[in-house]
Symmetry: C2
Subunit: 896 residues, 2 copies
């Protein structure tokens, strides 16, 4: 039985970060015994007893590799009878995992699989006598003709011999360019590839018939290590990220280690080209995206800070808060609850009113429009960057390899849940997963759409809402209970205590549910039996995203739009469940509380999820695995050092996909855009986090994870759509925050409709209605009516209601409706104007940068010329001479 385990060659030490010097010691694991043939790929299998080839696990994966291979290579096998179909019935999947079954069958299957690999032209070398007990290794080398064949089949674009000059700006443009380059010199990483290239190789889909076009003088480096590995992985196995052993090229690794995965270069651009060279396009795109996002956050946080400073600077000139704080305006306010609360002076709200002004001033309106356009700009810039990278990485014209993806999913994703049994310890998990594999097979056979997925998702969203409501209830009841107590010091501490505990409970609930929902989303997606890897991934991401998003933002939305809305009025406060009052915001309005909640959630999520989960837990896992293996083998650390490269990689964490990284960032993007109207410092916090995040992720990929198989990708897929969705929702939410949560609209309405002199003087008075104390129903008046030291006859409360002396006392007034209409009109105008502006930004900025489209055009013309020359050559007698390229024809085609 063979088991595919991820490997990475770049790590020799455990737990300590590795130095490049140590790295060079272990070159000997990178070649076959003859020291000539490079190891392109590693298969590992578990051996039950060190000296026997029997094992108790993972045979199913092995046979399925063989099964799929037979599917794809069926016609290539020479005269061999097809292997017995191992997956006839779903029961086998679970049976395979029970102990000591079908040992001989499994051994036969492995041998046949290895035979098939050899038939395809791959060269194998076994190494069962390793220092790692219980694991056997099969090294795979792909010879030149196999690489050629598969590269042609995969339509890999390779650089041709044809070189052309990339046009540089001339005249003034060039001078500016040179100046800018000089100025940004220290920001560039110390690697070759980032410097301006003046020549570029024309690329063309590799084909053996056209191989005279390519420079094949150095065959060892024509296909680089990541390409070789992915060729082997596509051609021999169907697992999308199967074991891969990193060959030499320590210099590339060293460069990445020094110029990328280090906190000391945090201010520099990333060497994206090198990242792509080492990890492949998919991971390269992630880091390019993260880099662009971080870069774009710089102007956003700058403007955010300016907006915040503007608030700070104008706080002393703000007439409404001046009026609240003015000692002369000593308005008596109505109690905020029945019986327990007392009359209070408006002056008490002075502090919150001043603080609110920091986040509730005209600049925030400007800032939320700015951020909506910023989001649109970010999208557009990303499209352009992506296009540029596609061009630079020769991906133009590349279509997603559907065949291999479909094949791989047909054998792996459906028969096995992803990440099956990488962790040998968790027996229960394994059992569930193999049972699920069986279930999925059944679904695959009968193939009706599994019912009831939407109910489950709705149920989960319901759970989130219920928990949010629970937290609210907790707050309400604690407040009520504490209010009831007669101890004045307790009561004074009520608000602070309740707020803090509630926010922390919220945060903890969010963090826990995040993990739970991730698992549930995966389970739901598995039930859906999607047809391809990509669709599986996209559905999973979408579900996870929806759940995590709802989870993260429900409490915030509650505070922004529902809290303090339906509270009733003094004398007839609204109650839910007869005893719990609806929550009210503090004196200064809900904006302040929204701000606090936002900063706690955002900072807490970032600190705990990033630092604790992303750094701490992998370290811990590695430690555990290391200790275990030590205990098992009783070997000293010295021997450890002499392990083969592929053995040391065995102790690294497997690569689990980019989804968590993207997900974290997109939730952060939500914080940055959704409520930016009430928290202009969000971009700054995000920026600070991301500067660390980039290097953190880089370190993780370089030193903590097994090296993933390079995956080709043209774009970031569904993430782009999710970003667009968040940006769209952000517009609406910001419109509502500005018009309903902040006092922006009431101020405007007062200024232009009611103010006698067009100033804000009298605004505070205008927003407060009158209440006649004699209208208190029995049992609802304050217990201590003389608390303020005088008899109160009329008190005030913040609402637009008719005064006691009108015909219809305490009914909502005309002002209420006028302000409401203004608020709603603002929402409509804001939403449509901002959406229109975003569309215009989208439309004005071309998706393909001009220089790139010109170069693509130029390359096409050069390619045409090249073929024309060839065409011409065919008609002339010296045709054969031209074709005598470094790689002569027979070398590729006649071997075997």
């Amino acid at each position: 039985p063979v088991c595919a385990v991820l490997h990475q060659s770049t790590k020799t030490n455990l737990l300590n970060s590795l130095t490049p010097e140590e790295n060079t010691q272990c070159q000997h694991g990178l070649y076959f015994q003859d020291g000539e043939r490079r190891v392109d790929y590693i298969l590992t299998y578990h051996i039950k007893k060190p000296s026997s080839s029997r094992s108790n696990r993972q045979s199913s994966r092995f046979t399925d590799n063989a099964f799929t291979r037979s599917l794809r290579r069926g016609t290539a096998r020479l005269g061999r009878p097809p292997p017995p179909q191992p997956r006839g019935d779903p029961e086998v999947a679970s049976q395979d995992h029970s102990m000591d079954y079908h040992e001989d069958d499994k051994r036969y299957r492995r041998e046949e699989f290895e035979g098939n690999l050899r038939d395809m032209g791959l060269e194998l070398e076994k190494d069962e006598d390793t220092k790692t007990p219980g694991v056997g290794f099969v090294k795979i080398h792909a010879p030149w003709h196999v690489l050629c064949r598969e590269a042609e089949f995969m339509k890999l674009k390779m650089p041709t011999k044809k070189v052309y000059e990339v046009k540089q700006c001339s005249g003034v443009g060039a001078k500016i360019n040179t100046l800018v380059n000089k100025a940004t010199e220290p920001l560039h990483p110390n690697v070759e590839e980032n410097r301006g290239q003046h020549v570029k190789h024309l690329s063309y889909a590799f084909s053996r018939e056209k191989q005279h076009l390519f420079d094949l003088s150095d065959r060892d480096s024509f296909f680089d290590s990541k390409t070789r590995a992915s060729i082997v992985s596509v051609s021999s196995l169907c697992r999308p990220n199967p074991p891969l052993h990193n060959p030499s090229r320590c210099s590339l690794f060293q460069l990445l280690y020094e110029e990328w995965a280090s906190y000391s270069v945090f201010y520099k651009y990333q060497p994206i080209g090198l990242v792509r060279k080492y990890f492949g396009e998919k991971i390269g795109l992630y880091f390019a995206w993260l880099g662009l996002y971080t870069q774009m956050l710089i102007p956003a946080s700058l403007v955010g800070v300016i907006v915040f400073l503007y608030g700070c600077a104008t706080v002393d000139n703000n007439i409404p808060s001046m009026e609240i704080c003015h000692p002369r305006n000593n308005i008596t306010m109505c109690p905020l609850c029945d019986r327990a609360c007392n009359y209070w002076k408006l002056k008490e709200a002075c502090g919150t009113a001043r603080a609110s002004h920091l986040f509730d001033n005209p600049a925030t309106v400007f800032f939320s429009i700015f951020m909506a356009l910023w989001a649109a700009m970010f999208m557009e810039h990303w499209k352009r960057r992506q296009m540029r990278l596609n061009y630079e990485w020769d991906l133009t014209g590349f279509e997603e390899e559907e065949v291999s993806a479909l094949l791989s999913v047909s054998c792996i994703s459906l028969l096995f849940p992803t990440e099956i049994a990488e962790e040998p310890t968790n027996k229960w998990k394994q059992t569930v997963q193999s049972a699920m594999a069986g279930l999925k097979l059944v679904l695959l056979v009968s193939s009706p759409p599994p019912p009831g997925l939407i109910p489950v998702t709705s149920f989960q969203i319901g759970v989130t809402f219920a928990i949010v409501f629970g937290v609210i209830l907790y707050r309400i009841s604690i407040t009520a209970a504490l209010h009831m107590s007669n101890n004045p010091t307790t009561r004074s501490n009520v608000r602070l205590m309740v707020k803090t505990t509630a926010a922390i409970i919220n945060l903890v609930v969010i963090l826990i549910l995040d993990e739970v929902y991730g698992a549930v989303a995966r389970w739901l997606t598995v039930l859906e039996v999607p047809k391809t890897d990509r669709s599986f991934e996209e559905r999973l991401i979408f579900k996870t995203f929806v759940l995590k998003f709802v989870n993260a933002f429900t409490p915030i939305i509650y505070i922004a739009f529902f809290r303090g809305r339906l509270v009733g009025r003094p004398g007839s406060y609204l109650y839910v469940f007869e005893s719990y009052r609806m929550e009210e915001c503090a004196h200064g309005g809900c904006l302040m509380e929204l701000c606090i909640q936002l900063s706690i959630t955002m900072l807490g999520k970032q600190l705990i999820q990033n630092n604790l989960f992303e750094i701490g837990i992998p370290k811990l896992k590695k430690l555990i695995r290391y200790i275990k293996s030590k205990r098992r083998s009783f070997q000293e650390e010295e021997r450890e050092k002499k392990l083969q490269r592929y053995e040391t990689d065995h102790f690294l964490e497997p690569f689990a996909g980019l989804t968590p990284e993207y997900m974290e960032m997109i939730i952060q993007f939500g914080f940055v855009t959704l409520f930016v109207a009430s928290f202009p410092l969000a971009p700054l916090f995000a920026l600070l986090n991301n500067i660390i995040e980039i290097r953190l992720d880089a370190k993780k990929f370089v030193a903590e994870l097994r090296r993933p198989v390079a995956a080709r990708a043209k774009d970031i897929g569904i993430w782009y759509n999710l970003l667009r969705g968040v940006a769209k929702v952000a517009v609406i939410i910001n419109a509502f925050v500005i018009s309903f949560t902040s006092d922006f609209i009431p101020r405007l309405v007062y200024q232009y409709m009611y103010s006698p002199d067009g100033s804000m003087h009298g605004f505070v008075n205008h927003t407060m209605s009158y209440f006649n104390v004699s209208d208190f129903q029995d049992g609802k008046e304050p217990m201590d009516p003389h608390h303020l030291g005088y008899q109160v006859e009329m008190c005030r409360y913040k609402d637009y209601r008719e005064p006691p002396w009108s015909n219809t006392p305490y009914v909502v007034s005309k002002e209420f409706w006028a302000v409401l209409a203004a608020r709603l009109a603002f929402v409509i105008v804001f939403q449509n104007v901002v959406m229109l502006m975003s569309d215009i930004v989208d439309w004005l900025i071309p998706d393909i940068p001009k220089d790139i489209s010109l170069q693509i055009h130029k390359e096409k013309i050069l390619m045409v010329e090249l073929f024309m020359k060839e065409e011409q050559g065919k008609m002339q007698p010296n045709y054969e001479k031209q074709k005598q390229s470094p790689c002569t024809m027979p070398s590729c085609q006649t071997i075997q």
Copy 2:
């Protein structure tokens, strides 16, 4: 000098529609003199005197063909010195058009051009001795090896020998399928291709190295006529739609003529496959799109009719109109204008109130939501249909041919305005155009972005607004003037007369401006010097669209949202320019007038633009050209009949692109979706129009126009984006129509906030405010206060204002603000809910139909298998035998 003129072979008679019998007579024009070689392409040039080769026009086009050829084929020319660059300075372009210049130079250039064509392997035959005086013809034949070479170069996907079975549904699905097929049997055209195909040929990009894959047994039909022509056009000339002569295949033409371009088959599906076979993908896509749109209009117009009938059925149960019409409720209304108007009875508005109900009932709200979703569904269906057609037409994986497009635009679109001088009569136009060509060359050389385009566009939109405003002023002033006259019969006819004349003026203005704006948009785009043909076309379309759209919808938007809004109140009506009063709507509200305006504009546009312009004018033009040529040649009709095919095509209208067709349809789509809330019959009118339109366009393409060069296209390009834009705007406009133009929201507010018993009784009374006649200012009271026969003390008017006895008489009331808030809230809810639902529809319906994606997958796997077999074959000794396909290797490569 050579001039490229469009040709079409399918028409022998002029003015009368042609019968296929007549068509077969003229086969002799389709071959070279030897009767063997097929004519794939025709060049024509004008000869000044019949027997001389000199001419006075069009030399520039000829030389530019040569120029471009040298650009593209530069490297393929064998040892010849490059021709003198003819376009060194911009002046040449205009000089070329002056008479009798550089005759010898031109002759030299033409000969060199023809020589270049021969060098490329094309075979030419001249025919200067035609019956059409002043025109010489060069017939071009592309031999097999040229076709092979160019098809490989263009990466044309051709069917291979490999055939596979398309999986049919089995079991219940199959039975249902058969039933449906039987039921729709009469709806299918009588052509082979539409029947369910059980086998399909695998397609693969043609290449000579892989030609053993293709079935080359019948070389004459391997590349069909449209492919041959486009191969020649791409390979030899850079003009995107250069002359093309239609070869035989009369049967295909006949089929199209009978089963497509005929009114008698109006109820059938279109034979899209045949249309594409004859006209190419671009035109095929247009008709497929038009067909789908028409099909989708069927359910829309059904629901629309039901909604209308619902209105008719409930008109007698409608409480508000019952209250208005009830003789007891004889409310005295205030005069609608100062002095001239009299008090009137509410009963007079009975008719309009009843009529309004037809378009203003809850069903219309439902209908506008339905239509928004319908639009989203239409988009999605089109995406799927397009994908299916792409698959069926082997366009998957095809990228737009940027190289040829760029090349062609670099020589043609920038040096010559499109459609230059096809009409030899218009000297002035020609001069302007050649001057513009010079201008463009200058712009091309200096290449700064031309300034002030946005001002020009804004100016045009301003003109539109000004004209709309002018029409409004006309209406206001006429009304005022007629009101002033004391003749009662005149006054009673005022409204009708004014409305009719105004609507007709509007329509005429729209029609005229449409033409003007089309020309201006073209001019503006030419100024912008776009880089590619596609970008030129898209910019032109976008500009034309914006102008035409504004033109068509401004008067309607005025009526829907502005008319009758700011009219003031009795006693203080608002005046503009001191004497003109703002227009008011009739008693029943503005919805009725909106409806009238909509139907007049829509029907008028369709009737006049489609029937008059599309049918009448081409017929007229053809007649003129025919008469002219007759006068010139003095030939009898009998001789006319024996003309070569290419000579008869000379009299057909050139193909001017699909833009007008699409534009007409997208404006119609605007009428169908934008104001559907107020005019539920719009889809029905559109449907009736389109059923005719399809066959009308078909007839035009088959019989009235020269056959266009087949253009490949994967999608309908910018039109899709415009459709999306219209659908988006429609949501917002419908939201506003429902909430502001109709009385839907006031009714709801009354029912749930004010009605004493929850019914609509009393609504009419509630919407009308009181006015005390004694509050009339001097000179504003009616001239004839006793008109109704009694002394009026209190009159009513439709508005929410405080009564005379309140503290603040005639100020807008609380109800006004409440209703306004409700209206605005409805807009927000409607817009966001409908947009969300559209997004969900978009997301739920996969872009690629499931069966297509499965088949594409299957084809890829088959292709892999095929290559695997080949790979295997190479390793075996009988390899050479396998390669001996019908087309032997040397035949393609060794000729020449």
